[in-house]
Amino acid sequence: MNSHVQGKIDDIKKLAARPKAGHVVSSGTKRQSTDGLSMAIRTQKDADTFMTELKAIRKKAS
């Protein structure tokens, strides 16, 4: 990763670590109950198969 981009990432992490004045975020207030992917994943087995396939893609790419 080039140093300029790494510097930008570091800056964002510093910004995120700063206390926020007047802005309180409650987590996950607008989570959708479903999306396209969750309609195709019905069971733990489906999810495990899907995640295994993703891992295989990552492994093949490395």
Partner: protein, 183 residues
């Protein structure tokens, strides 16, 4: 065409990064002359069966952590808007490298946008991310006539992810788009 260049982004006004909810905001100048506050949200995929998958959304803020993803905006520099979101996503992924970010392409308009963005920015995004496309498929039963179906008769779709195939044009869209940190 949206050009992603994460070295050229808008300044973030504030931000939070966590595995529960990551959020930031920035101002985007509009063609009509004013500026619109934009929010980027990265949050866990709604399906609890996919704990390492996160969704990314971008749009004007609603309330303290939601966004309006239906409003039509005319940004002066859409590439810079998306670059800002992608840089924030990259920052998130460096903090949580085992996670993967998903973009729902159920809607054709959005799928076309994501597909075109991946293709147009293959080099710049490929420097940092592995990109993945997900198709749905249905199983042809052994009788060679029918397909696997749900109890209600609808086709039983299953997801099939693959490394994003850059030879696929925007006329051959995926149903879901994902990217993760490059190894």
């Amino acid at each position: 065409m949206i050009t992603v260049n994460i070295e050229r982004t808008y300044d973030l006004l504030w931000g939070e990064i966590s595995d529960k909810l990551s959020i930031t905001e920035f101002k985007s100048p509009q063609v009509v002359g004013d500026t619109v506050l934009m929010r980027v949200v990265i949050e866990p995929h709604p399906d609890p069966l996919l704990p390492n998958v996160y969704n990314l959304a971008i749009g004007p803020p609603i309330g303290d952590s939601a966004i309006d993803d239906n409003v039509r905006l005319r940004h002066v520099d859409s590439g810079r808007v998306f670059s800002t979101a992608i840089l924030f996503a990259l920052t998130f992924l460096t903090e949580f490298p085992e996670t993967i970010i998903g973009l729902d392409g159920t809607d054709d308009l959005r799928a076309t946008l994501y597909h075109s963005m991946f293709i147009a920015n293959r080099e710049s995004m490929g420097e940092y991310f592995e990109t993945i496309g997900v198709d749905w498929y249905v199983k042809l039963l052994r009788n060679q006539i029918d397909i696997e179906r749900n109890n209600d008769g609808t086709p039983f779709f299953k997801p099939r992810p693959e490394a994003f195939d850059y030879s696929r044009t925007r006329h051959d869209l995926y149903r879901y788009y994902m990217f993760e940190l490059k190894n």
